[in-house]
Amino acid sequence: MAEKMKKPDEMSRIEYTPAKEDWFDPQVKIRRGVYNYPANPKSSAYLDLPNVHKWSPLDDDWHLPDNWKEIITEGFRDRLKRFRSLKIFMDICVRCGACADKCHFYIGSGDPKNMPVVRAELMRSIYRNDFTTMGKILGRIAGGRKLTKDVIKEWFLYFYQCTECRRCSVFCPYGIDTAEITMMGRELLNLLGLDIDWITTPAANCFRTGNHLGIQPHGFQDSVDFAVDDLADNTGVRVEAPVNKKGAEILFVVPSADYFGDPHYFGFMGYLALFHEIGLDYTFSAYASEGGNFGLFHSNEMMKRLNAKIYAEAKRLGVKWILGGECGHMWRVLNQYMDTMNGPADFLEEPVSPITGTKFENAKSTKMVHICEFTADLIKHGKIKLDPSRNDHWRVTFHDSCNPARGMGLFEEPRYVLHNVCNYYHEMPENTIREQTFCCGSGSGIGTDENLEMRLRGGFPRANAVQYVKDKYDVNLLTCICAIDKATLPPLLEYWVPGVEVAGIHELVGNALIMTGEKDRTTDLRNTPLAGKEAVEHV
């Protein structure tokens, strides 16, 4: 990065009193550090996206198509017809301001347009002007604003300064969900070819190879094999990790970062160890080697295109049901969209744990179970042996990832697992966890290097809560169940709260799991010496 990043001291000096300006008059200040690069035209073209062109947010001219206004107006009209959420949310906001200080980007930046209500007003004002009687007659007095190129620029800036985390929606008396508004805003921008690279390119990769990173099938096989080797080195147990195995009972889908990213990888080893130990008949798929779905951040159609692979592959492989790994937005899609978009999954069976016999009634239609539900059930039934002291080198806290929290309500399952695999566990303050959890600041496709300043700002409330438990309880490990968290929280914490690491829950499960035939375990899955074992080694 060319410019030097501000120090935390300076970054946390935030002015919350808005400048004396009227947000009605668009003033777009796009500077380095707070936006994402436009999509690589090759990726957009691969996905047959409209109006693919080269442009830069820093330029005055974004080379919009000549009929850009018509595209937006028609696109808006079309979405108002298709989404009741949009129509209602455009009409009923009373601007009570309850959402204002709930947004991590507002807390971290003080930019008044990051108050969710104002971010939504950027779009609502156009709606009122173009689609309501009052707005058409009274214009500005009725809160209507003319659609201009500056409005489009503003949308681009602020709809990519929203991580669709839905925290504001928890506090809204009408449940107005900024994520819905941002999603619609992004869909409209996409129509003009104004999509960003860290959404479109992963989506294109995923469409082609099966995962975001564009790893080809043999590469996927390699990384699974590596994990098997590493696990054998670490535990002395060599496990099987089938890929594309027909007739397996369960298809296991993870976010691709699990087998390529750090610290995701250690959680991946944890899954492998667990499945081996309980003798699960499962398979990975190289075709559906991505549960994460960057289509969610692009458009509902793109989400559907990418998500389609999971059911298609489950059908081809002839599995009974599907198990999903630790990932946030992946689970938003699986829980709230998959069955509607690509179901019905009538070729699958209602999920039953082959180990405990538990019927997962809550997944009887979608036929997809969350790994934390699965593992919590195993532990509850005493089906695995655990030695939580193997995690005694960690003082653990848990970060509820936005989507499993507010798009699902997965709160107790991960906590139950954690309580059983580690001895030192401390919750962050109550206004920062569970349904009130704070986003990592990098979700929904904006976790890019070029956007680092905004990410650090957006992640400030989360980091600050971690600071609290670090100061109070010496917490040194933040666990989470989201691949984006695992990728973006380490640099965030390094900046705001150095000394706190990030891990998935199944990494701790893997550490604590007593495996049949294992060697004397002296290190955790990261090859860090276990508490009590380091002294022995160094003496």
């Binding site: 309850a98 008044p112 509902n300 509607t340 009887k364």
Partner: protein, 337 residues
Amino acid sequence: MKVMSALLAVIILLLIVIIGVGAGKLHYLFGVIIPYFAIAVFLIGMILRVLRWAGAPVPFRIPTTCGQQKSLPWIRPAKADNPSNLVGVVGRMAAEVFFFRSLFRNTKMELKGGPKIVYGANKWLWAGALVFHYSFLVIFIRHFKFFAEPVPYFVTVTQNFDSFFQVGLPMLYLTDIAIVLALGYLFFRRLVVPQMRYLSMPGDYFPLLLIGTIATTGILMRYFDKVNIFAVKELGIGLLSFHPVAPTGIGLLFYIHLFFVSTLIAYFPFSKLVHLAGVFMSPTRNLANNNRMKRHINPWNPKVKVHTYEEWEDEFRHVMKDAGMPLEKEPVEEVKE
């Protein structure tokens, strides 16, 4: 400033009724025609609004989950904050509509040195909103006495509760004080809190000023410049029975009151006040989080281009073969010229 255009609108409305009734003596227009017109606009406007909302499908089931999901039998679900069935949804909506559940969660964020962010409970907005809405409801119910003879029982009961302390003559209604205080709070927070001033629009100040004027004129008529109740009731009953009489002998204050009520009613369907109906239709609140149990249907579920397994294997067959991965079709050896 945005509050000025709202204030200006209210002043213009005042002038209209003062000139119309005071100078123009247009009692029938302001006493009968405009109220009927306003109610017609309200009814038609609200019905159309709701129909328009209802006409847009709910493609996805997207409740905001604010509590534990229903999953394993030994984990207690949050039945209302994360409903898994209709009963839960009804509970959630009831809590939302009657007690402003979500607003009750409100917190206030403060950044202190360190840096340290603290979140305090902040129930003022919740309390202000609740007091305002319930006072409004009680006052609305009390007004039925002007439309029916004998006065319905529920109206009398409401009145008795409202004048619980039995002070003053006529007896002081608690809601008269409460609504003024609540309106004042809701209005001045928009002016005083910098963020609220930034985000407030004419459409936020205007209804508060309208209702404020209505409340003020109402209070003046009850306690100070007393109005001819019998004439008012005659008008009310006349309006309701569709035999309206042009009322005379009621002061200007009453006409201001009535005209502002009419304006409020007619303004309703075109403003943020439609939240009255919209809150019931919000897809993040009125749907159960049972997506994985019960399939939700999207009526316009689009056909999309997907990348099929066959296309995928066609592209990667050779590398998969080399890696020893299972295949659907064996690769065909290419004949090299």
